[in-house]
Subunit: 413 residues, 2 copies
């Protein structure tokens, strides 16, 4: 792994340089990248077709779809780079400042985190999205993508480097780990003297592996096991609209709902019509015993409460109170996004106070947990950590602060 270590050292050095680069040069890099992505459409599609061909037999249709790039998807990637170019650069902002009693001027200044490693699975658009956000925030970035998309990732990271070079920025600010050897990841996770942060994006086993083996600080982007609780004082038509949206609009994403909790007082009124709507959208319903007494469902067990289906499947549980709903969510949820539908003020307040999730909703769909929706411009993912950043992580969350203290000879007594 000697050459990996050398490459990471070069990236660390480049990350120090890009931390001092102004927004103009960083935006020129982004402009170059937009142009290069557009100019190299055919080459990108060609490399991607090799990845598709190599994996066609091994992967399911849904996975091939995630791996696949087409002309429209390239346009979307270019749009995303353009959007990030327009976001304000947080680096250098003085977030607070004060004069201390002894005359010292204390400033808190936003700075890049340093060198960030992103470990992700097959979607190749992450290569550009994640790199570009890290770089605009003045960080170096190490890209360790899934082995399935290695040819696509190689050409995309080559374009990242070319765009940096043209802008006069050290191209080692991007290091693409061009190997499918799993030992590479293990050895990178040991380099806590060079790498400042690891962001794993992917399935449970990837997150678990990284958390357990990294000496470097990790911000997890874990699963989204999201709940909607329909309270006994809810507007039932609003509740149906929201549940339908959160389950059906895009079931494969982390902010889709997986478990529906229904207050026993309104279950008989609410569930039959809700079930009819969901079934007409091809949703498979599972439910607790009480649910099964009201509508036709497959039985749900303990295991279902822990499952992120990422599919047109919904588990349903009848609870007797907001307290029981909150307990269920805190116990089985992934602390991502959870909603209460209610017109009862006390229950709404209780739910927002006590539900231990990054995003807690009252009378809205969980689907809004997203950097774009929150007005961040773009996101590197949704943190399920309880440290540094919680929920959607945008460019702001890819920086940290340093203190600058300016005096004229002050000493401490």
């Amino acid at each position: 792994m000697t050459n990996i270590n050398e490459a990471v050292k070069a990236s660390k050095s480049a990350s120090r340089k890009i931390s001092l680069v102004g927004s103009s040069a960083k935006n020129r890099f982004l402009e170059n990248l937009e142009r290069l992505l557009d100019k190299n459409r055919e080459k990108i599609l060609h490399e991607n077709s090799i990845d598709i061909e190599n994996n066609r037999k091994r992967l399911s249709g849904a996975k091939i779809d995630r791996l696949m790039i087409n002309d429209e998807r390239i346009s979307k990637i270019i749009e995303s780079v353009n959007m990030i170019r327009k976001i304000e650069d947080p680096v250098g902002r003085i977030s607070s400042g004060k004069k201390l009693p002894n005359g010292l001027l204390l400033l808190k200044k936003q700075v890049p985190i340093g060198l960030i490693m992103i470990i992700y699975e097959s979607r190749p658009n992450v290569t550009i999205d994640a790199a570009v956000l890290c770089l605009k925030a003045g960080n170096g970035v190490i890209l360790k993508g899934g082995k399935e998309s290695i040819n696509t990732n190689r050409i995309l990271s080559g374009l990242l480097k070319e765009a940096l070079r043209i802008a006069g920025i050290d191209e080692n600010a991007v290091y693409f780990v061009d190997t499918t050897d799993r030992k590479a990841t293990a050895s990178l996770l040991e380099m806590d003297d060079l790498i400042d942060l690891v962001i794993p994006r992917g399935g449970g086993s990837l997150i678990k592996y990284v958390s357990e083996n990294s000496k470097i600080p990790v911000i997890k982007h874990d699963k989204g096991l999201c709940h909607i609780y329909v309270d006994n004082q809810a507007s039932l038509s609003m509740a149906r609209k929201i549940v339908y949206n959160a389950k059906v609009e895009r079931p494969g994403v982390c902010n889709a709902v997986e478990t529906l909790l229904v207050n026993s007082d309104i279950a008989e009124n609410f569930l039959p019509e809700m079930a009819r709507e969901l079934i007409s959208a091809d949703v498979t319903l599972l439910g607790c015993e009480k649910t099964a007494q009201i509508i036709d469902v497959e039985p749900a067990d303990e295991n279902d409460w822990r499952t992120e289906y990422l599919d047109l499947t919904l588990s349903i549980k009848i609870v007797d109170s907001a307290d029981e709903a909150i307990d269920h969510i805190n116990r089985y949820g992934s602390h991502h996004s959870d909603a209460i539908i209610t017109d009862n003020f006390s229950n709404a307040m209780k739910f927002t106070d006590e539900t231990d999730s990054a995003a807690v909703y009252v009378n809205a769909s969980t689907r809004f947990t997203d950097g774009g929706q929150f007005g961040m411009g773009a996101e590197i993912g949704i943190s399920t950590n309880r440290l540094h950043a919680r929920g959607p992580m945008g460019i702001e969350e890819l920086t940290i602060y340093k203190y600058i203290i300016i005096g004229n000879g002050q000493i401490r007594d």
Copy 2:
């Protein structure tokens, strides 16, 4: 380790409860604690004398001094609790809020981190200081102190629990790990499903052990290998006053200076008088070859540039430019606190931009890196992490945020 697991589960549950407790009850707990500490002075001194007796043969005088509690130190601990009582509680503060285009109200609300484990060495005042800061910020706290102070820590944590109980707060919000078995720490560091954050405070080997073995996020409070660089355009009398202060006033603390970097242009003017002052305060001087040509020093080697003496010892290196000083600091320092003494504007700006430290000083002593000095009221320590919190960590840094999103039926298209 079954009973440790049960105790941690009880603490997790208590941490959820205390996260919802208002400032009034938390302040009543602090008032109770002040009273109990005062009332139990004799018992505390008695238990501490057992710890002193048990360790007198094994530990040096300086270490016995760190372990020792006397009446005056109890008064200082009480003062510190009183100070924390007066700090504003950050929990529940809405740090930002906005109406999204679709009418959703997006609020960012400060909340406790959860259950925090502090691993520390012999100083028993940390038991109270650290616990009280965590609890005031609405967190549960697990205290794993050094084995030397186990009797003192046991009585102090007993008083913490009693003070909580009287205030009507679940006493399991404090869990004192009452064992000297090192396996206990190892098993606690595995409990990433229950413990949200580990803060190790202590020597390099403790920090290293925790970083390498924890599955839980860690905020390191590592050593302070601090530098002062005296530029060629510095006021030399100001520089001498600052260096003397940063080395001599309290050499055993993390924000004391360990390495002095001197610009070659002014070294002959600056060093002889500086050395005279330091030697008269019993400081041992080590230096590079060029330094040895100007003043009488023991030779310093590569190893000295990496050493936090925590003592009346200073290593000196002559450099040719601010750039060389910055390179040295970024390479050998611990990213804690570093200062430039200069009247040259460009060099001051360059130094604050490029020195990669939590606190960067211009024309002031490094000794000011301290939560109290920075106006935080109190600190749990000085973070050398680059994530979540950098530099002094006060009550604010013991919280995180959650998003609350309030709607009236919004769904995503």
